[in-house]
């Protein structure tokens, strides 16, 4: 008994020790002025970079990293590693923040970065951006698309990330089928959109292998889709710092979805990526998704055997110009030694320079965050007019809320959308969603 008791005692002591040790990981530190930091090639800085890209995007990224390693004048060496999905990286960061090694550069969405920042794990990049020695000139600073770089700023003004790329929610459409239905231009209003969905339901794509199944659209329950719909009607998800789901635009969006589903001109997605797959084989006429899906659609339409003519455009909109949902993960720098932090910043600066941006977006099909990248992409635009079509829409981008706890609200939106798709009373759902969403404001 005594042996066991003493064993348990050891474990408890270990627990307390580790708990305390973990809790007081480095956080109180003085922020060094980057202008005073030196980088010597005799003591090359090694950085770790965790990302979630795989396959072709990873290859392109590794090429860029290798070039940085070979050409930067300070001998900085970046080691980039695939570290799972966004969720896996979040997991590693969460545990790393409690004790254990942190990487230097990570890919993170705004709400994740906000959490890391709250745990004092990230660097406020303003010091580096404004540094006279290492930072951005005013011209360079203005070259970044304002709305993109603002997304990564917290409420108290800390710049906790730098966007390397952005994506837009766009509408993909089967141009061939559209022509068969008698139209040569995609719909600009939601009313036209609905009309075309009904037409598509009644007249399947002539080259579809599954003509018994023909739809105008397949709805995804992702909260970003609702945001796209609401933005396009001139609305927003927040107002004066509070959620505002109880709005005319939200109601209209949900009503349209319910109507189309009831009339069997549209369906709710039956599984992840189902809308992409069905679009690629000619079963649905329209698809609204992130522009980061461009490479997939390109290859899938071909692999699906149909190779039909497909195009992209802004989703239908209410006002005179479209309003699109823009989003994307950003790169954040974790707290480390002053030399490592500076080196990380230099990598970020290099990566978001126009030449690198051009290479990155060509390989990844994301969209650049700097206006001047357009100069580097002239021939690319000619080769890929669809890409240019989306590029021209970047100026109309609007982003989703950056409030704490938005992740939770997204889940509630998802459930609400599914309920509506299954026939629930929209008035009730919208009111409840508004209530529940605003209830999260106090908690986070």
């Amino acid at each position: 008994m005594s042996v066991r008791a003493s064993r348990l005692g050891c474990l408890a002591a270990l627990g307390v020790f580790l708990g305390c040790g973990g809790g007081s990981a480095p956080s109180t530190r003085i922020d060094v002025d980057p202008d005073t930091v030196e980088l010597h090639t005799t003591q090359p800085v090694e950085l770790t970079f965790w990302y979630q890209h795989s396959r072709q995007r990873e290859e392109a990224l590794q090429e860029l990293i290798a070039e940085f390693n070979g050409t930067n004048e300070h001998g900085i060496r970046v080691q980039g590693e695939y570290s799972g999905s966004y969720g896996d990286i979040y997991n590693k960061m969460m545990t790393g923040l409690q004790g254990g090694a942190l990487p230097n550069v990570i890919v993170a969405y705004q709400n994740q970065a906000a959490l890391y920042h709250e745990a004092e794990g990230l660097v406020d990049l303003n010091r580096y951006i404004n540094s006279s020695r290492w930072g951005l000139t005013p011209a360079q600073r203005a070259d970044y698309v304002a709305s993109f770089i603002d997304q990564d700023r917290t409420a108290d003004g800390a710049q906790i990330g730098l966007p390397p790329n952005r994506s837009l929610e766009i509408m993909y459409y089967n141009a061939e089928w559209l022509a068969e239905l008698g139209y040569d231009k995609p719909p600009h209003t939601w009313a036209e959109f609905m009309r075309l969905c009904y037409l598509a339901r009644d007249q399947p794509f002539s080259r579809s292998a599954h003509k018994e199944r023909s739809l105008g659209f397949i709805f995804d329950w992702d909260a970003s889709r609702l945001a796209t719909s609401v933005f396009s009607r001139g609305g927003d998800l927040v107002q004066d710092g509070r959620y505002h789901f109880d709005s005319e635009q939200t109601r209209q969006s949900l009503e349209m979805m319910q109507q189309l589903i009831t009339d069997k001109a549209a369906e709710l997605m039956s599984g992840a990526y189902a809308d992409q797959e069905e679009f690629a084989v000619g079963t649905s006429l329209f698809m609204i998704r992130s522009s980061s899906g461009l490479p997939f659609v390109r290859s899938a339409v071909e692999d699906g055997g149909l190779s039909f003519d497909w195009q992209v455009t802004a989703p239908p909109h209410a006002g005179d110009h479209p309003v699109l949902n823009v989003y994307g993960a950003s790169l954040s720098v974790c707290r480390a030694t002053p030399e490592q932090e500076l080196a990380s910043w230099l990598f970020l600066k290099w990566f978001t320079a126009p030449q690198q941006q051009a290479r990155w977006v060509k390989a990844s099909n994301y969209f650049p965050v700097r206006h001047s990248t357009a100069r580097e992409l002239k021939s690319y635009f000619e080769e890929f007019p669809r890409y240019k079509a989306v590029f021209d829409l970047l100026q109309y981008g609007k982003s989703e809320p950056n409030l704490a706890g938005y992740q939770v609200v997204r889940k509630k939106v998802e459930q609400a959308m599914v309920e509506v798709a299954q026939g629930a009373d929209i008035e009730q759902v919208v009111r409840k969603l508004d209530r529940d969403a605003n209830a999260t404001l106090g908690q986070y």
């Binding site: 008994m1 066991r4 627990g15 580790l18 040790g21 973990g22 770790t48 965790w50 890209h53 795989s54 396959r55 072709q56 995007r57 990873e58 080691q79 590693e81 695939y82 570290s83 799972g84 999905s85 896996d88 997991n91 590693k92 969460m94 545990t95 409690q98 004790g99 254990g100 090694a101 990487p103 292998a209 990526y273 992409q276 797959e277 690629a280 084989v281 992130s290 980061s292 899906g293 490479p295 997939f296 290859s299 899938a300 071909e302 692999d303 699906g304 055997g305 099909n365």
Partner: protein
């Protein structure tokens, strides 16, 4: 052994066949999908048109399967070896020896089964990090972090204890008369008798080690020691899933396990004959 009557036999056969079909359907789908082109997976085709043997070569080379495969094998072997040895050693006293606190120790061991993985990941990571900094060899990004935490399993200890309890007391008496102590009895008599459960648990441990994903992702930062489950993850990217390659990878990943199982299941055909006992 009595043979079952022919009518019953046919019913049985039909029942088993239905069960077999239901059991194997997803595996068959996985196999078929691994031979399809991407287009066919998109069109939800049931059978591939031309068999795409190339998928396997592509999956293997594009994601450096060879090295991940090797890692998985080493990790699984270490985990299985450690688990079987330590659990065997621990089950014996719990089953056949009398000492104070025996039932409490058993309960404490069982308690380790009762905590969900979500909760054990963080403290275990902290422990492993601490060990990494305070021991002569590295833990993170190295085999110790991937194997040592799992080298004892309450599940295995519990199962072996159940079996050991069923071993007749006469055997122990006979062994004692021959001058053997507990250790000799354990390793020379009990160990061979526990072949069936040991092989079973060895295989189940192998499978769980082989399929583990969450923990390896957490404790490795480079591909050096990553297992094959991580490689499979990479086929699903933001640009959409490459199902045909992923399934090819999954088939490659499943084959060793199936082979192991096929080899082992032969051991379960006969019961153990206890000659010299009931004489």
């Amino acid at each position: 052994m009595k043979t079952v009557g022919s009518k019953k036999g046919t019913l049985l056969a039909i029942g088993l066949a239905c069960g077999g079909v239901i059991a194997s359907l997803p595996f068959v789908w996985m196999l078929l999908a691994s031979f399809m082109t991407r287009g066919e997976t998109l069109r939800r085709a049931f059978l591939p048109g031309d068999i795409q043997w190339g998928n396997y070569a592509k999956a293997w080379s594009e994601e450096d399967f060879g090295s991940y495969f090797e890692n998985s094998l080493i990790i699984a072997a270490l985990q299985v070896g450690g688990t079987l040895l330590f659990s065997l050693m621990a089950a014996y006293p719990l089953a056949r020896m009398k000492f104070r606190g025996r039932e409490v120790v058993f309960m404490i061991i069982l308690a380790t089964l009762m905590v969900p993985e979500t909760v054990t990941m963080v403290p275990n990571f902290l422990t492993v990090s601490w060990l990494h900094h305070n021991s002569p060899f590295g833990w993170i990004n190295n085999w110790p972090a991937l194997t040592i935490p799992f080298m004892a399993s309450a599940f295995t200890i519990f199962l072996l204890r159940q079996f050991m309890r069923g071993i007749p007391e006469e055997l122990w008496d006979a062994a004692q008369i021959d001058g053997a102590g507990h250790l000799r009895f354990l390793f020379q008599i009990v160990l061979p008798m526990c072949r069936a459960p040991l092989l079973t648990v060895g295989m189940l441990t192998f499978i769980s080690s082989w399929n583990a994903l969450g923990w390896p992702l957490l404790v490795t930062n480079t591909p050096a020691w990553r297992p094959i489950s991580v490689a499979l993850l990479k086929f699903v990217s933001e640009a959409g899933a490459e199902v045909h390659l992923q399934m090819a990878g999954a088939v490659i990943a499943t084959i060793p396990v199936l082979l192991l199982y096929a080899l082992i299941q032969k051991e379960f055909t006969e019961g153990i004959s206890m000659s010299g006992l009931k004489g």
